[in-house]
């Protein structure tokens, strides 16, 4: 994987992203509360890097992916993308601008079984994407499609088939090919390997790394699997209940994690090699519901190191104790817990 990541100007920047979903209830169906799926997320994505987003269910990582792909409008915050000369806002664009954005930022979804129109041959599906993005010459489209197929190791003859004739792993490869066809700059991959068998998962992971080597694309890799996140990404963003609690370089895992949640998460991951070497922190209780998120730090209800301030003030991302400039933590503890 390319190690030359320009840590200067980000390709894509999310600032203070909030996404609240209203909860209606009662006879008159009035709004009685809000689900705070995302409560102030800051994230910078650089060219040529893969940033893995991890967290458990309800942490908001899928919602973040959808915000980044602007499939829905955020309730608050800014999303800016660098089209070539500086960051520009990408929410509320007109049709031409939106198309220009979507050409550069693509998304692959989790369920390989439903992300293709079941009644459309897969070749036609990819062809349609190229048409929508303005490629008028059928010859040109065909050669572009051929190129994408080669990149994902898919034989072109298979393109005349329908989605249901492929296996889950093949469908994900087709989904990747579909994105690659328009030569994007950033691909958001939302749990794309979670529904696949382990050996197929490995194939897809290797494929993604290879594609990044060859094209210099950026990836946002959303997953719940910590080991895969670390293996695939250059940096890792850890989310809990709607906010990012830690961003760290992949190499800093597992030894240099600083946020108590990250540490607990790591200790819960079953691992063959770390047998007996890790301290198992079994977290008590369950993740609170996003409707009644606790005030102050979201993790305060379960954190083994909770202090009074944690219940009142929300910690913001700041540089980590280990002085690595690409490592940030949102925690009131001045030093990471001992013995982690």
């Amino acid at each position: 994987m390319s190690r030359e990541i320009a840590l200067t100007e980000p390709l894509y920047q999310a600032k203070g992203i909030k996404k609240y979903f209203p909860v209606t209830g009662g006879v008159l169906r009035r709004k009685i509360g809000e689900v705070k799926a995302l409560d102030g997320v800051d994230l910078d994505i650089y060219r040529g890097e893969t940033i893995s987003v991890i967290g458990e269910s309800g942490c908001g990582k899928t919602t973040l992916g959808r915000m980044l792909a602007v499939l829905q409008k955020p309730t608050g915050g800014e999303l800016s993308f660098d089209f070539g000369d500086g960051l520009k806002n990408v929410v509320g664009l007109n049709r031409t601008e939106e198309l220009a954005f979507r050409r550069r930022v693509q998304m692959i979804f989790q369920d390989p079984y439903t992300s293709f129109n079941p009644r459309q041959r897969v070749g036609a599906a990819i062809d349609e994407v190229l048409q929508v993005h303005g490629m008028k010459d059928p010859e040109e489209r065909f050669s572009r499609i051929k190129e994408s197929c080669e990149m994902v190791n898919m034989r072109v003859e298979y393109l005349q088939r329908y989605p249901h004739e492929f296996s889950g792993g093949q469908r994900q490869r087709l989904a990747i090919a579909r994105c690659l066809a328009i030569k994007p700059e950033l691909i958001i991959a939302d749990e794309i390997v979670s529904a696949l068998d382990v050996s197929i998962q490995a194939q897809i992971i290797n494929l993604l790394r290879q594609i990044q080597r060859e094209t210099g694309l950026s990836f946002v890799f959303i997953t719940h699997d910590v080991a895969v996140a670390r293996y695939v990404g250059h940096r890792i963003a850890v989310m809990y209940l709607g906010s990012v609690v830690e961003i760290l370089p992949a190499g800093a895992l597992p030894q240099n994690a600083e946020h108590p949640y990250t540490i607990a998460l790591l200790s819960a991951v079953p691992d063959m090699n770390l047998q007996g070497k890790k301290k198992e922190i079994v977290l008590q209780g369950e993740v609170p519901s996003p409707i009644d998120a606790p005030s102050g730090c979201a993790f305060s209800t379960r954190c083994p190191y909770v202090m009074d301030i944690c219940k009142i003030a929300r910690p913001v991302l700041r540089l980590a104790y280990d002085t690595d400039p690409s490592h940030q933590v949102a925690c009131h503890l001045e030093k990471p817990p001992i013995g982690a």
Binding site: E56, V198, A202, N206, A227, R230, D271, M272, Q275, E286
Partner: protein, 336 residues
């Protein structure tokens, strides 16, 4: 289980799902059956308790349950007869993956657990309720008296799984079979449940069979491991033997495809080409031969016998030499 063969009838053709499966589970031990989708691990569990779907049946073989010197041939019993039913729930407890569909959404949770108790033992309703609440407490369900009357959807995934564990263990069975119990759960909850299961096993010297696709989980709880591929047990041994010195090419590939937390990122994940074929496609020889890097022509023709190495480490592969090592790979290893 000895030489068990199971087939399913799908659209008027027979699919040979389990192929000569033989397993011996010592009392009080923890066995994990590992494999990817389509390998037949769930079917193995279903076959033991005779809960195969309508279009499946055990074609041959013996499934025996031993207790106090007596052996009962489970697959010979009538599927819904009294004797088989007395096994299910009372002597053999089952935990499933999908808690939402395994629990009746219309009944309160306490009642569902008590039902199992009332069915198999002679207790009054009040006594049963007492026992259920006690078990809830032991399993870490907070506020058990109130939760007794709750409905399944009022619980989170992890709590529901504890309820399922309660149903499975309330009659103190000697054998517990858990089919992917934590696959749908978050990692931190998974850790809680696995600790619980391991405690349940140790505290009462119960026999556990855990079915999973997660090798790392296996390393944490199992005593023995059986690796399955396309209906056949391809490797069996203690956790140490199988995970630290895997001998079968498939086991090796499986272990290499999963990155560990301290994996070297500059090294590509070693994986296997292609995907698991359907049972209908492979009828002769080794099921894994098509994708195996070490396969020879004989591999596709012969019935592959089980070879046993030291410490009862069993491998079904003819390419191993006497020391149990594989030759150099014939095909170039590829990663995509």
């Amino acid at each position: 289980m000895k030489d068990v063969n199971v087939s399913f009838t799908v659209e008027s053709s027979n699919l040979h799902i389990l192929r000569d499966v033989s397993l011996q589970v010592p009392r009080g031990s923890f066995l994990c059956i590992v494999g990817e989708s389509g390998c037949g691990k769930s079917v193995t569990a279903q076959a033991i308790v005779q809960l195969l779907p309508d279009n499946g049946r055990v074609d041959s073989g013996l499934i025996s349950y031993y207790e106090s010197g007596k052996a009962t041939e489970l697959n010979k019993l009538e599927k819904f007869g009294r004797e088989m039913r007395s096994f299910r729930g009372a002597k053999i407890g089952m935990i499933f993956q999908d808690t939402l569909s395994s629990l009746n959404p219309a009944h309160r949770v306490g009642r569902q657990v008590a039902e199992s108790l009332l069915q198999h033992q002679n207790l009054s309703k009040d006594e049963a309720k007492e026992r259920v609440i006690e078990l809830f407490r032991k399993l870490g369900i907070p506020d058990p008296e109130r939760r007794f009357n709750a409905y399944p959807h009022e619980f989170s995934g992890g709590m529901r799984q504890r309820v399922m564990i309660a149903i499975a263990t309330i009659c103190e069975p000697d054998l517990v079979i858990a089919d992917e119990p934590t696959t749908a759960l978050d990692v931190t909850i998974q850790a809680q449940i696995m600790t619980l299961l391991k405690n349940l096993q140790k505290s009462a010297q119960r026999t556990f069979i855990l079915i999973t696709h997660n090798m790392a989980l296996v390393s944490e709880v199992a005593d023995h491991v059986a690796v399955m591929y396309l209906g056949r047990v391809v490797e069996y041994g203690s956790v140490d033997q199988v995970l630290r010195s895997p001998r079968h090419p498939y086991t090796q590939a499986l272990l290499q495809s999963v990155p560990s937390l301290d994996a070297d990122k500059s090294v590509e994940l070693k994986t296997v080409d292609g995907q698991t074929p359907s049972p209908a496609e492979v009828t002769k020889g080794c099921e894994f031969a098509e994708r195996c890097l070490f396969a020879s022509d004989t591999c596709k023709d012969r019935v592959i016998p089980l070879m046993t190495f030291e410490g009862n480490h069993q491998v079904r592969c003819i390419r191993l030499d006497e020391k149990g090592n594989l030759p150099k790979p014939d095909k170039a290893g590829s990663n995509v």
